[in-house]
Amino acid sequence: MGKRLFLLIVCLFGAFLEGVLTSIPILLCLLTVISIHEKSNKIFVLAFVSGVLLDVLRVDPVGLRSIFYTIFLFLIFLYERKFEIDSLPFVFFSSVIGSAAYLFIFHHNMVFLSLLFSGGFSVILFFVARIFQKKSLTTDFTLLH
């Protein structure tokens, strides 16, 4: 429960950053890494709530980004049956492709730089998530002994 609340807060913070300060699809990168890392259906809740918030902040039709994120995460989960998604290349390319579609639909500028940054940002988030996962596994192992 604490972890889910933390992820929700992180997604909402990402929505505020993207809604107020930057045109880089930060929320999309966050949702991509969380979905690959957690592999839980609860990601759709995060996508829905943070998508609605971002639509409100950007004065866009509410629900539009939620639809986009839901479909995008669905496509990621479809790939899970066929490919190893918990890997660096998949994180990078899925972020870049997802960001390209996002920037095309929501009409942002500086597309090429935004794509590169999205891919890089997702890779960094992926590594950070891995480090936290290893630390929590080490802590659990220590507690068991």
Partner: protein, 264 residues
Amino acid sequence: MRHRERFFISFFLFLFLSIGIFFVGKTSGEGGFFGVIESLVLPIQKGVFSVFSLPFFSNKTEQKLQTENASLHKKIVDQKNLEKENMALNDQFQTSYPKSQNLLPAHIVGMPNFIPNVSVPGLFIIDRGEKDTIKVGQAVVFLDNVIGKVTKVSKNLSVVTLITQGSSSFTASTEIGILGIVKGKGEAMLGLENVQASQVLTVGDTVTTKGDIDENGIGYPPNLVVGKITSIDKTQSNLFQSARVLPILDFSKLEMVFVMTQYE
């Protein structure tokens, strides 16, 4: 298998929920429930913008000089217009422009750009909306300088597309009355295009709006400062020439703008 079933149930549930919210928002307008959400997040939005816009990096002296520079440019244009008009009529009808009673102050609560405070923004999000009688198409100004136009409105917020955006286009004229079309070129630059090749443009000339107010009183009013000509592109074989125009104000440093709610 159960995990897969739950996955599809979750996906379709949230997809239809999102589509439902989208259509509810479209049919019933952006007020009501979403207006309440806007009211709740507006203070957080303002707080995030004020914290992360790094005010301690802003150069107050530079901002003051820019403001003074902008007002001086408008004074130069006003002075030249006055020389052309009848002095007796100007003494009788001279007023400040635009009229303050037609301006609605609005704080900028969002300025999404690639790198905050570094790259040039393409739009502002302001804390005025339908409840403040803001409408799509209204001009947004700051110190007699045109900033942009309102392009999206919700109950509490509005989006202002800047004149430097590629989608922006309006008629303008120089100090000596040469007409052209100003188009946004991105990266804080404008282009003055469709100027007849026989006309003489000069680097340093101030460009002002020609005016495109419609029957509802919405649009860019005339004689608002757009910027200064920085370079001219003229070739012998072309019927038209163009010029680069640099806005006098640095839009990324603005914290407040004014919406022209009506034109008189």
